[in-house]
């Protein structure tokens, strides 16, 4: 109930803004186009990458900025005086970000359907799980107790953009050198990209059971760490 109040607040204030929605769609689309043009890659490979990128960017786009913005606007102290704990705030922020990630993922899915690409229903489970995972990662970026949103967004960008390039979105993991493959396996995005590839009829790099298990473990670890770090950081923001 209280978590849902936080979700509603986040959606009203942050996620329903036109520029946020447009940026959440445009950024992955332009990245996708930049890598698609001039390369002879199968359409289902590219669409799987676009779906993965969209979920990743959407789920990590706004969530890092909420805590510093609220600290700067002095709304955080008001929020902390309500009968809620930090866990409720973090869970609400993660859930709002997850919903945003899931909703924006519909754009590439509809494009894929328009291109007559068939999809496995397992993609839905993958999108939901990865949206929670990436949203928790987004919250982790804002655990640094700065009230300047630009500082937190810089930290976020430093992690998000390299992850795109090492997670098998543009280059299949089996074509990466051994070191590249090891790095790819450290990224949670790799496992969702693998699930998306499978769902669009391609051969996954890893067994699906491993993809889902690792993604679940990442989700638990990132969510737990976010809550613990925010329990320390939030109070330093007021």
């Amino acid at each position: 109930m209280k978590v849902l109040a936080i979700v509603k607040k986040d959606i009203l204030i942050y996620y329903s803004k036109g520029p946020v929605v447009i940026f959440g769609i445009l950024l992955p689309v332009f990245l996708f186009l930049a890598f698609w043009v001039g390369r002879n890659l199968p359409l289902n490979f590219l669409m799987a990458g676009l779906i993965a990128m969209t979920v990743f960017f959407a789920s990590t786009s706004v969530s890092p900025a909420i805590a510093p913005w609220e600290g700067q606007m002095r709304t955080l102290e008001r929020l902390l005086t309500y009968p809620i704990d930090v866990k409720t705030i973090v869970l609400g922020d993660v859930l709002a970000s997850t919903i945003f990630g899931i909703v924006l993922s519909l754009v590439p899915i509809l494009i894929a359907l328009a291109l007559n690409l068939s999809m496995n229903v397992i993609l839905v489970v993958g999108i939901i799980l990865s949206a929670v995972c990436f949203s928790s990662l987004g919250l982790l970026f804002s655990a640094y107790p700065s009230n300047i949103p630009a500082t937190v967004m810089m930290i976020s960008a430093l992690v998000r953009f390299p992850l795109i390039f090492v997670s098998g979105i543009f280059i299949p993991i089996d074509q990466l050198p051994p070191l590249g493959q090891c790095i790819a396996l450290l990224s949670p995005l790799t496992y969702f990209t693998d699930i998306a590839r499978f769902s669009l009829g391609l051969k996954p790099f890893l067994p699906l059971s491993i993809d889902f298990t690792v993604l679940t473990l990442y989700t638990i670890a990132l969510l737990y760490t976010s809550i613990k770090l925010h329990e320390r950081a939030l109070i330093r923001r007021i």
């Binding site: 209280k2 849902l4 002095r74 709304t75 008001r78 929020l79 809620i84």
Partner: protein, 295 residues
């Protein structure tokens, strides 16, 4: 309702609270005064469970604030000094958000929000975004939010700071109405007239220590029971009293002798006395004297 025992708190090695202790009874309006940086806001943040004390114990409504901060916050309303409502939400959305965070049923919440917004005169603007509100309207909305859970204790940190006269009067009237309904009010303010008018008891904190605690009249008596003699002359003169605008004020234990001396002074200098009157020292004067270490 509130019991504070030997609370200490440091920030970056600097001790902000040094063994603060006091009690607030049910239905009391308790004023918590002190200069900037004395530790008022830190005390309020500890009492509302936002920060933990380094040592000492704090009980609000029987609950240990350190162990049960959420249970304490379910029973209190807070109007923080530096906090803000969400400017991109409407007044109605801000209030309904508060209801959601207090876990109030939606139907009950809607009725309560409507009543509060009407009581505080901002119902007509309920669908306007708060960023279009004046400071007075924002503060009234903050007050509504503090009241939305029908609290047993209300913490008001500088509630009328920077408000226009009408809004400040309205909020003061609401504070007195709260007392009538048995709500306990913990008030910090720099406005001594306001504290004098509203509070049953007052504590003064300086450098992290409570240096005086009594009723407003008791605090005034603490400074020695001097009588203030106020005098106005028809022109500027080199007079020995403290000057406030066109008035001079002298503090004395013997008003008769002081007034005779002033009359004699006026005759000698050839100035006319426009007005002269006596009064007991204000709470502000007592506060200044106490902070100055004269008690």
């Amino acid at each position: 309702m509130i019991k504070v025992e030997g609370v200490e708190k440091s920030f970056d090695g600097r001790k902000v609270l040094k063994g603060v202790s006091f009690r607030v009874k049910r239905g009391e309006i308790f004023g918590y005064l002190g200069p900037n940086g004395a530790g008022k806001t830190t005390t309020v943040r500890i009492l509302t469970g936002l920060i933990k004390p380094d040592s000492g114990r704090v009980f609000v409504r029987g609950f240990d604030v350190v162990k049960n901060p959420v249970k304490v916050r379910e029973r209190i309303g807070v109007l923080p000094e530096v906090a803000n409502v969400y400017p991109d939400l409407t007044a109605w959305q801000n209030l309904m958000l508060a209801c959601g965070l207090y876990g109030i049923d939606k139907r009950v919440a809607e009725g309560r929000c409507e009543r509060l917004l009407k009581e505080f005169g901002i119902y007509e603007r309920r669908n306007s975004k708060v960023k279009t509100f004046s400071k007075g309207m924002k503060q009234r909305l903050m007050f509504c939010i503090a009241m939305v859970c029908e609290p047993e204790i209300v913490f008001l940190d500088e509630p009328t700071s920077g408000l226009d006269v009408a809004s400040a009067r309205m909020l003061r009237r609401k504070v007195l109405e709260l007392k009538d309904t048995g709500v306990t009010v913990f008030l910090t303010s720099h406005n001594m007239d306001e504290v004098d008018m509203l509070c049953d008891r007052v504590a003064i904190i300086k450098d992290g220590r409570i240096i005086a605690e009594d009723s407003p009249d008791g605090i005034k008596e603490l400074v020695g029971g001097d009588i203030a003699v106020e005098v106005r002359f028809d022109r500027d003169v080199d007079f020995f009293g403290e000057r406030f605008g066109d008035r001079y004020v002298l503090y004395t234990k013997d008003p008769n002798e002081t007034i005779c001396s002033i009359v004699e002074f006026a005759k000698e200098r050839g100035v006319r006395i426009l007005s002269i009157n006596t009064r007991t020292p204000s709470l502000e004067e007592a506060f200044i004297k106490i902070l100055g270490g004269e008690v």
